[in-house]
C-alpha cells in the first residue's frame, strides 16, 4: 500500500498561485512538512495560513495520512493557503 498522499494546494484571496499545485507527500509525515514545503516555494510570503477544505487549520503535528483519511476526497487532500487569516 502506498503511503504517498496527493495534496492539491489552492490559493485563497490574493495568495500567489503555484505553477503546479499538486504534490505527492509522505503520508506518515506531520502536517508541518506540508507547511514547510510551501513556505520554501513561496519564500517571498512571510506569513502563510493553511486550511483543510476551506474550513480549519490542522495542528502542525497531525499526521498527513490521518488528515487524508478524514478529510480527503477524490483521492486528494485539499490544502488552502492564504496570506491573511481566513475562515473565522
Amino acid at each position: 500500500m502506498s503511503d504517498k498522499v496527493i495534496v492539491r494546494f489552492r490559493a485563497v484571496g490574493d495568495a500567489p498561485l503555484l505553477k503546479s499545485p499538486v504534490f505527492k507527500v509522505d503520508g506518515n509525515k506531520e502536517f508541518t512538512t506540508i507547511i514547510n514545503g510551501l513556505k520554501v516555494k513561496l519564500k517571498h510570503c512571510s506569513n502563510l495560513h493553511f486550511y483543510i477544505n476551506n474550513s480549519f487549520s490542522p495542528s502542525p503535528d497531525e499526521i498527513i495520512n490521518n488528515l487524508y483519511k478524514c478529510f480527503g476526497s477524490g483521492g486528494e487532500l485539499q490544502v488552502n493557503y492564504a496570506t491573511m487569516p481566513a475562515y473565522g
Binding site: 480549519f56 502542525p60 497531525e62 483519511k69
Partner: protein
C-alpha cells in the same frame, strides 16, 4: 401550595429527561490531577547561589485544561524564588519526553503515566532550550486559544462534514466558551458547547486513538447506529495493530483509557462522544497493553 410543588417536581423531572447524564459531563469537566513541578537540572545549575533543597511547586490542574492556562502561577513560584527572571521560554517534560502544550493535561497523563505510578504527577519544568523540533512554538495564551478553536472546528467538520456550527458562534459565544474553559465554569461552558453537539445524527465520530506513540484518526460512518460500540470502532481502525480475532480472544490484555477511566469496549460510541468528549469535542482514547 400543592400545585406549586407539583410544578416544581415536573420541571425537575423534565430537566432530568433532557439531560440524563449531565452529571457525567460535570464530573469529567471538574476532574483534576495533582502535579509536582520540579525545576530542570540544567536551569537549576544556572542559579547564582546554588540551593541544596528541592524546589518544587505543587499545583492541582484540571484534566481538561492546558498547561499554558496555568503558566502565570507556575512561573511566579520560580521567579519569586530567584530561579529565573521570566518564564518566556517555559516548557515541561515527563521522563525526558517534552509535553505538548496543545494537548489537554489529562490526555498527557493518560498517555504517559502508568496506572501504578504514584501521585502527585512529577513533571520537570524547563526555562531554557525550548525543543523547537519537538514542540510547536507558542507565543502567548492567544496561541493556545487559536489552537483550541481550530481543533474545535476540526471536530465539528468531522461530525457534520462542515465547520458551520463553530463558524456561526458569535464572538461573544467564542469568548465565553474559551473563558469558561480557562476558569473551569461548567455551566457557562456547556451552555455554549451543547450547541455544537446537539444536532443528530452525526455523520462521523470525532475520535482519536493513541497506541504506542501513534495517533489513529479516521472516518467512521456507522456512528448513527444505536448499537455501535467502542469495540466496533477499534475493530475498524486498528486492523494494522490487532485483528478482530485478537480483540475477541485477548481483549482482557488491553485497556482503553478515557479521562483516566478504564472504559468497557461495549460502551455505545455515540454516548461516549456526547458525554465523554474533551472540551475540544474530541474523544481521546488511549489503548495500552496491561502490564503482565
Amino acid at each position: 401550595m400543592e400545585g406549586e410543588n407539583t410544578t416544581t417536581t415536573t420541571n425537575n423531572e423534565s430537566d432530568e429527561i433532557n439531560y440524563p447524564f449531565e452529571n457525567v459531563r460535570e464530573k469529567v469537566f471538574n476532574g483534576s490531577i495533582p502535579i509536582k513541578f520540579v525545576v530542570s537540572e540544567e536551569d537549576k545549575s544556572k542559579i547564582p547561589n546554588s540551593i541544596d533543597y528541592e524546589l518544587a511547586f505543587y499545583y492541582n490542574i484540571p484534566r481538561c485544561s492546558y498547561f499554558p492556562i496555568h503558566k502565570t502561577e507556575i512561573e511566579e513560584y520560580f521567579i519569586s524564588r530567584n530561579v529565573v527572571e521570566n518564564g518566556d521560554n517555559i516548557w515541561y517534560s515527563y521522563k525526558d519526553i517534552p509535553l505538548k502544550w496543545h494537548y489537554p493535561v489529562g490526555l498527557l497523563y493518560d498517555i504517559y503515566v502508568n496506572s501504578d505510578d504514584l501521585l502527585p504527577w512529577e513533571i520537570t519544568v524547563h526555562f531554557s532550550n525550548y525543543p523547537n523540533n519537538k514542540l510547536i512554538n507558542i507565543k502567548d495564551l492567544d496561541t493556545l486559544k487559536d489552537s483550541y478553536l481550530t481543533t474545535l472546528k476540526e471536530s465539528d467538520y468531522m461530525r457534520y462534514g462542515n465547520a458551520n456550527r463553530v463558524m456561526c458562534l458569535s464572538l461573544d459565544d467564542q469568548s465565553t466558551l474559551w473563558n469558561s474553559l480557562c476558569n473551569l465554569n461548567f455551566k457557562n461552558f456547556w451552555n455554549i458547547n451543547s450547541k455544537l453537539l446537539i444536532d443528530t445524527p452525526w455523520s462521523n465520530i470525532s475520535a482519536r486513538l493513541y497506541i504506542n506513540d501513534n495517533v489513529i484518526q479516521e472516518r467512521f460512518a456507522n456512528i448513527s447506529e444505536e448499537n455501535t460500540t467502542l469495540k466496533d470502532l477499534i475493530v475498524s481502525w486498528c486492523q494494522e495493530v490487532f485483528t478482530e480475532e485478537e480483540i475477541n480472544n485477548n481483549i482482557d490484555n488491553y485497556k482503553f483509557i478515557l479521562h483516566g477511566i478504564n472504559i468497557s469496549i461495549d460502551t455505545p460510541l455515540l454516548w461516549l462522544g456526547q458525554y465523554l468528549s474533551y472540551p475540544d469535542n474530541w474523544l481521546h482514547i488511549i489503548i495500552k497493553q496491561k502490564s503482565s
